[in-house]
């Protein structure tokens, strides 16, 4: 399986990076991290699913609302590489899931030792971040558009 964070690296370089990681099994319904937790490692999904949620106030209660689901090959927890190193979402496994956890210090040390690997990982990470930004931007624009339409319709009815 090809990990999006390691695209463009040679198989030796991929092995080198994966060797730094720690394989973890998250049980079904288990939590990987919570919003606000210190983010000192990011995760590569190997098997299963990781569900990202965001707390939303619904009827006066805080409920975890679905944001995104990550499948094998995808990266979770890039907040570990971006200051202030705090998770901005919560992550749970809806089914038993295997991930590879990469410590920030270890990964950064490898990138300093091997700038080519570092540059490639940096580019791949920017793709992951940009993809989230572009998706959220489009979704937000569509929601605003709908809100304006609804408000205009209500104002027209009131007239």
């Amino acid at each position: 399986m090809e990990h999006e964070l390691l695209k463009g690296l040679s198989s030796d370089e991929v092995e080198q990076v994966l060797a730094l990681g720690k394989r973890m099994k998250v049980p079904s319904g288990g939590s990987l991290f919570r919003l606000g937790d210190s983010a000192d490692r990011l995760f590569l999904v190997e098997r299963g699913r990781i569900r990202l949620t965001f707390p939303m106030l619904i009827r006066g209660h805080e409920e975890e609302v679905f944001i995104e689901e990550k499948s094998p090959g995808q990266t979770v927890g890039w907040s570990a590489l971006v200051p202030p190193y705090r998770f901005t979402l919560s992550a749970t496994a809806p089914l038993e899931t295997d991930v590879i956890a990469l410590q920030r210090e270890t990964l950064c040390a490898l990138c300093e030792r091997s700038p080519v690997v570092g540059a490639r990982i940096g580019l791949n990470l920017s793709f992951v971040v940009a993809q989230r930004l572009q998706l959220v931007q489009a979704m937000w624009m569509r929601e605003i558009e709908r809100t304006v339409e609804m408000k205009s319709a209500v104002a027209a009815e009131a007239r």
């Binding site: 009827r59 609302v65 679905f66 993809q131 572009q134 998706l135 959220v136 979704m139 569509r142």
Partner: protein, 106 residues
């Protein structure tokens, strides 16, 4: 002379009638000291549907269970994410402004 006296009599009689009529028309309807008979209290009309019921609260539809609501939100986000992914893959104004198929907002 007799005719003159008859005319005067009619004139005085006419004046008297006019004075009495004037006094009757300008007399107040009731004297302030007179005791008014107690009027029966006006009957309160029964409540009318278009006035009283309007103030009553609008019947609220039964609330959707929170689990169902969360599932609806999740389905909506998944559909919107798919629409946003289509836009990001091939950015066009038509894709950005395409109507959502999500029943959550329709």
């Amino acid at each position: 002379m007799y005719m003159l006296l008859m005319g005067l009599c009619f004139t005085f009689f006419g004046l008297a009638v006019t004075a009495v009529a004037f006094a009757a028309s300008t007399r107040p309807n009731s004297s302030p000291s007179a005791v008014q008979p107690e009027l029966p209290a006006p009957k309160v009309s029964p409540a009318r549907f278009f006035s009283d019921q309007a103030a009553s609260p609008i019947p609220v539809p039964p609330q959707v269970p929170i689990e169902v609501l969360l599932q609806q939100i999740e389905n909506h986000i998944r559909l919107e994410q798919a629409a946003a992914e289509s836009f990001v893959a091939y950015p066009t104004q038509a894709l950005l402004h395409s109507k959502t198929s999500s029943p959550f907002v329709n």
